[in-house]
């Protein structure tokens, strides 16, 4: 079926009354996502597209039990908002917010680790189970229900790869954006493990990019997997030492190049896509 979330998942949105919060809430409701409440301090009592707003997460979940909090609060407030959600018992956080200070992400990661909370992001498009629920900012039109699981560090590149698959009639079981920051809570390996266990997923596509060690860590697990893995890594043209948009997308002192990631993924047994359209042709040969 889906991993991490499904059509029954009850969602709260922190930062629901902002312009992005309200727009994305509407798009998620249209998709069928079960948003049970929203939180904006000082705006308790309001409603956004019919969703009741509360002053705190505690107040929201005491009236409307929830499983997931989606965070759309501005970067300076994310540390506070994330700890509030964890303190109120939320076990899965989807932190959409971009430009989060790394030291705050480090703190959130440590708290989440000690409390056993999963955090997707920061700087994630979120998570979507096509046809069931969408907890994120992705355009619904490029996704379709099916058997391919996707893990991506980038948002827009997730849309590109999923869009290529959808156009070819290949749907997706779940698509997870793990986040493009240097420090994120969830690792590619966590998601790979869930996809490996999920009956519905027949193949996993990894969408990576330069910088960091996520792809290298994932490669260590791919060898143990029974399901086929297709991988695309962006940034082959990226010059060393330059941050390519994402804070985590940087080749530092010769490490984290696209080619080195491609090499380790390849030797672990992943099929390498050189272009987004190759993900489609490789997927067709595997399933």
């Amino acid at each position: 079926m889906c991993i991490l979330v499904d059509e029954r998942t009850r969602i709260i949105v922190q930062g629901i009354t902002g312009s992005i919060g309200s727009t994305q809430t509407k798009l998620m409701l249209d998709y069928g996502s079960k948003i049970v409440a929203g939180v904006t301090p000082g705006k308790g009592g309001a409603t956004v597209h019919g969703v009741p707003v509360y002053d705190s997460v505690k107040a929201a979940v005491s009236e409307h039990p929830a499983d997931v909090s989606m965070l759309l609060v501005p970067a300076p407030f994310i540390k506070d908002a994330a700890v509030e959600a964890m303190d109120s018992g939320m076990k899965l956080l989807v932190a959409i917010t971009e430009h989060v200070p790394v030291h705050d992400a480090v703190y959130i990661r440590e708290q989440a680790e000690s409390l056993g909370v999963r955090v997707i992001g920061p700087t994630t498009p979120g998570i979507i189970c096509p046809g069931k629920t969408k907890i994120g900012i992705m355009p619904a039109s490029v996704f379709m229900e099916g058997n391919v699981g996707i893990i991506s560090r980038s948002g827009t590149l997730l849309y590109e790869i999923a869009g290529n698959l959808t156009l070819a009639g290949i749907g997706q079981s779940t698509c997870v954006g793990i986040g493009a920051d240097p420090v994120v809570r969830i690792d590619m390996v966590d998601i790979l493990r869930l996809f490996e266990r999920d009956e519905h997923t027949k193949l996993v596509a990894i969408v990576g990019e330069i910088g960091g060690v996520q792809e290298e860590e994932a490669a260590q697990f791919i060898g143990e997997m029974k399901k086929p893995v297709v991988a695309y890594v962006a940034g082959r043209v990226a010059p060393p030492g330059e941050r390519m948009g994402h804070a985590g997308a940087i080749i530092l002192r010769g490490r984290g190049t696209a080619q080195s990631k491609i090499n380790v993924l390849k030797s672990a047994g992943a099929k390498i896509a050189n272009r987004p359209s190759d993900v489609v042709s490789l997927t067709k040969t595997c399933i």
Binding site: D104, P139, V237, P276
Partner: protein, 379 residues
């Protein structure tokens, strides 16, 4: 954002880390003043935002004032690994007995601050880790607990220090972690930490890189961001909240996400073209931001074509389209231009662009847009 060495040292000094006596200079007159202030002999250190300076000849020494002026002139006329040298740091030359490496980074594997110390200072930590890993003492720090003084002492003890050196060095390590934590640093390094023949200790080499995303809470540092980049377009991009990287080619690229934009430049290269830049808007597109992004890229005289690649997820596509049209109507570019727009409200955006006579690609695949642009260039 990496700080110049003299800026990092000013912060270190303010927080109690001993640094050598020094002054910066950008002209011959200033060099003379600086040498008088510091006293001979001196070290002359090129101020550039790039590592490996020592090997590239960026550190010189002088015994006399004339020599210092001559050396400083030479320093400021030779770029260091492609970076122009506008200022030098003149420092007292120390009599070195031993050099150590002290560093704190955010380790991407564990996602936590990690301290590394070595008895082999003066070279890159990667080289130490590769050649002499047995000299490294490292420790992961819990961000909520922070570093205790006893932990700093224990690390220095493991490095083989004792007596007053142990106490002074562990104090410096404790303060370095304090700077790292207080200023949201990605890298805080003292390399080398020098012990002089008189048993004094100084932070001689200093690196401090502050997380750009945390600058909103560090306005007190008072840094002038405009001097960080020599590239005019890049400087303007940063001021406008855009991510820009200059490349060697002639096809301008604007994308609405980092991953997508990276894939776009990869594909341009794949299909035989050469990207001139990487420009990424992030998730905050407005009509004005898009207009400025287009204007900025079109300023680049090298361009023979422009590809704009946008997804409507969090970004509003009609506003993006309006911004593009505004820039076009004002600047009337003569080069081939393609705009690919897919996602929320795509029809509305297509309509806005087509009415203005802009070629729109409606397919999901970026490859279609890239191929089309390359074929337009061939005509």
């Amino acid at each position: 954002m990496r700080l110049f060495e003299y800026e990092a040292k000013e912060i270190f000094r303010k927080l109690g880390i001993p640094v050598p006596k020094g002054a910066t200079a950008g002209s011959t007159d200033e060099v003379s003043l600086a040498v008088r202030k510091v006293g001979l002999p001196v070290a002359i250190k090129a101020q550039v935002l790039v590592g490996g300076r020592g090997k590239a000849g960026g550190i010189k020494f002088a015994e006399s004032l004339e020599d210092a002026v001559e050396q400083a002139k030479e320093s400021m006329s030779e770029p260091i690994r492609g970076h122009k040298v506008n200022r030098v740091l003149i420092e007292e030359k120390l009599n070195i007995k031993h050099e150590y490496y002290f560093g704190v980074i955010i380790d991407q594997l564990s996602g936590a601050p990690t301290i590394m110390l070595s008895t082999e200072g003066g070279v890159d930590v990667e080289i130490i880790a590769g050649d002499k890993p047995e000299t490294l003492v490292s420790k992961r720090v819990s961000p909520s607990r922070g570093l205790f003084r006893f932990e700093a002492r224990e690390m220095c003890r493991q490095l083989g220090m004792y007596g007053s050196l142990l106490l002074k060095s562990s104090d410096i390590l404790y303060l370095l972690y304090g700077v790292f934590s207080k200023y949201d640093a990605l890298i805080g390094e003292i390399n080398p930490l020098v012990v002089t023949t008189q048993d004094e200790i100084y932070a001689v080499g200093s690196v401090l890189e502050i997380d750009d995303n945390s600058l909103f809470r560090h306005s007190d540092i008072g840094l002038d961001l405009s001097r960080r980049s020599e590239d005019d377009i890049k400087r303007e991009a940063v001021e406008r909240g855009l991510s820009y990287v200059r490349l060697d080619g002639d096809i301008g690229v604007i994308g609405s996400g980092a991953g997508l934009t990276m894939a776009t430049i990869d594909l341009i290269k794949d299909f035989g073209g050469k990207p001139a830049n990487f420009l990424e808007t992030g998730g905050g597109i407005t009509e004005q931001l898009m207009e400025r992004a287009v204007e900025l890229v079109l300023k680049d005289g090298r361009l023979s074509a422009l590809l704009i690649n946008l997804y409507g997820g969090i970004n509003p596509m009609p506003a993006a389209a309006k911004g593009i049209v505004k820039a076009f109507e004002r600047l009337r570019p003569k080069i081939p231009i393609l705009v690919k727009v897919v996602g929320n409200q795509q029809e509305e955006a297509w309509n806005i662009l087509e009415i203005a006579g802009i070629t729109v690609v409606k397919e999901i695949q970026t490859e279609v847009a890239v191929k089309k642009l390359i074929s337009m260039l061939g005509e």
